[in-house]
Symmetry: C2
């Protein structure tokens, strides 16, 4: 596959890791191939978190703009940025001033910036931001905005599952999303977004699959000490189980905050909560995957995916046909009742092992 | 950890791969550690599939008995055998004479054999067999029988999801299981069994988790050309997502059948459908795992697991608390209605990409 000289030069000049891979599918008689070039962007913040917020945001946009331009020049048609890409990931601090970074999903500076680049390159852009919902009492959400290849906002999705783990004090800032499991039918395929911590929830992945997703992005922000043993497993399993492609994206770098905070782990107060390990990758429904982007560098992953592979995987493996959704619908309903009794078969001799 | 000389000598004399690993958990103040030594057995068949059935079954029992004795001598307290361990995996043939191998779960020769060994070693044994259900019209099931450390049958579970993929024509022989997601409370922890193809279904894994499983075995029979890229992913993801240990077991070797059959892949008729690749392993709720047993050899995997790690993982990650089961219960119910409309947000310009 050809990325073109401009993308390679930009990667060299601007110091980001550029990688490219292609996934193929079998030829079909009744459908042409549906090859889509997708892009994943991972990046660090630029200025110290003590800099004026407007300058911090501008510096990030400026750097990310170079990577998006490289992606556009390389022919990427669907691109996703990392979680809350426009700001430092300050949710470790529990300080509320960071809410200033939140933006209107439809009219904020991030969406204006992405709309222009989407129009420029004829590229669908998914922009995960901290959303300020002025129409509903200035509520904060963790939201992904989907922008069409013509530069208008198709819609948005709000993070379904909110972590309370390690330094990820996100439940301090926003609640569980209210948008269900929307699938966005773009010019280049049916796209959905499973934001960060939602990757630990198999039913969240499944929700997008049941609504017909062919390509699900997982924009994340997660650090080495917490989740790295899980990173190569979850997105890949989701691609297999749901017969779609997954683009898993993690931010990169170490972010230091002005005031010290504790981490609930008995260690002294500190100002940084570890290294965001990048390692973004694409996983396919047949179990294959790309290598990871760098662990310590900004990066652009370009992948050609033939979306026909999704239905081919469904026809081959039959996971959807054999899923017994009706059984699980009633099981879950029963589980949610206050008097639920687990299905346990007790060994009468269990209390007295020999 | 010490396995003892008897197990090592048996492995050397009988030619099976013996491996041992330990998983630890943090010490707690209010619960003692709950360390259980578990065992996974993988094995090939012994006689040609043309030999008289009674001899085939006896030869397998004789070999497996040696491995179970080694496990018992090594101190294993919960042991699981591979799927349909007592017979060749003949479901590629679509021939019905292989149903002769089926047995009564409560009184057949396999259960008698396992009950004796369970009693001998004070060991819980899970015996996955082809079950003949005489009380219900001689129906065939794919069933795991759970035998207590005192040698009595605690109960059984029937495979929930039946494959129709590649040479796995199992829907020709038996139907989807009727036993739900039972968890067996044994003397050594809460144990469940996700049989073979059920490992592709995240809600099947979850069903056992919701009923309180701490240790789920996945007795399988699967070949390299079909599932090997998925093998290291699915059981590990299940352990992470459900905060329990998983013991993934695959049979080993190549089985040749008397009459030729086709595989629906355009290739000429043949008598074997590929190599069962063994590679059994144990995965933990924290994302760690053991290496795999051999790809071409019988094997016994011994692992010490501290079951306290399950609840520790739940408390740390909060997947159960944040799972929003009620949302998924209604989503699934809606999905199962004939007039279900997927949640799709269409880009009006999607039909005319630039």
């Amino acid at each position: 596959m050809t990325l073109g000289e401009a993308a390679r030069r930009s990667a060299a000049d601007n110091g980001f890791d550029l990688q490219a891979f292609a996934f193929s599918a079998a030829p079909e008689q009744l459908r042409p191939p549906r090859i889509v070039r997708i892009g994943l962007v991972q990046h660090s913040i630029v200025l110290p978190t003590t800099a004026p917020y407007v300058q911090q945001a501008q510096a990030i946009r400026s750097k990310v703009g170079q990577i998006i331009d490289a992606a556009g020049a390389a022919g990427v048609k669907v691109l996703c940025l990392q979680e809350a890409w426009h700001m430092p990931f300050a949710f470790c601090t529990r300080e509320k001033q960071w809410c200033e970074f939140s933006e209107c999903a439809e009219t904020g500076p991030s969406v204006a910036f992405c709309r222009e680049l989407a129009r420029k390159w004829g590229m669908v852009i998914i922009s995960p931001i901290l959303e300020r919902d002025a129409a509903h009492g200035d509520t904060i959400w963790n939201t992904a905005v989907v922008i069409s290849h013509t530069g208008h906002v198709i819609g948005k999705h709000r993070k379904n599952h909110i972590p309370r783990v390690g330094d990820f004090n996100e439940s301090t800032y926003y609640m569980e999303g209210s948008t269900g499991h929307p699938v966005f039918e773009t010019a280049y395929g049916k796209v959905a977004i499973n934001i960060c911590y939602g990757r630990h929830h198999p039913m969240n992945w499944q929700g997008f699959g049941l609504n017909g997703a062919e390509l699900v992005f997982n924009p994340s922000a997660t650090v080495g000490g917490l989740s790295e043993p899980l990173w190569g497993v979850e997105a890949r399993n989701a691609a297999i189980a749901n017969s779609y492609f997954v683009g898993a994206i993690n931010r990169v770098g170490t972010e230091t905050f002005p005031n010290e905070f504790t981490s609930g782990d008995g260690k002294p107060a500190h100002k940084s909560f570890g290294h965001f390990y990048g390692s973004s990758y694409v996983a396919a429904p047949d179990g294959s995957r790309t290598p990871s982007l760098a662990r310590h560098m900004d990066g652009l992953m370009v992948a050609d995916v033939d979306l026909n592979l999704c239905r081919q995987a469904k026809d081959k493996w039959g996971f959807q046909m054999t899923a017994r959704y009706d059984m699980y619908a009633s099981d879950l309903q029963r589980y949610c009742t206050p008097d639920f009794q687990p299905q346990i078969v007790r060994d009468p001799a269990a209390q007295s092992p020999s």
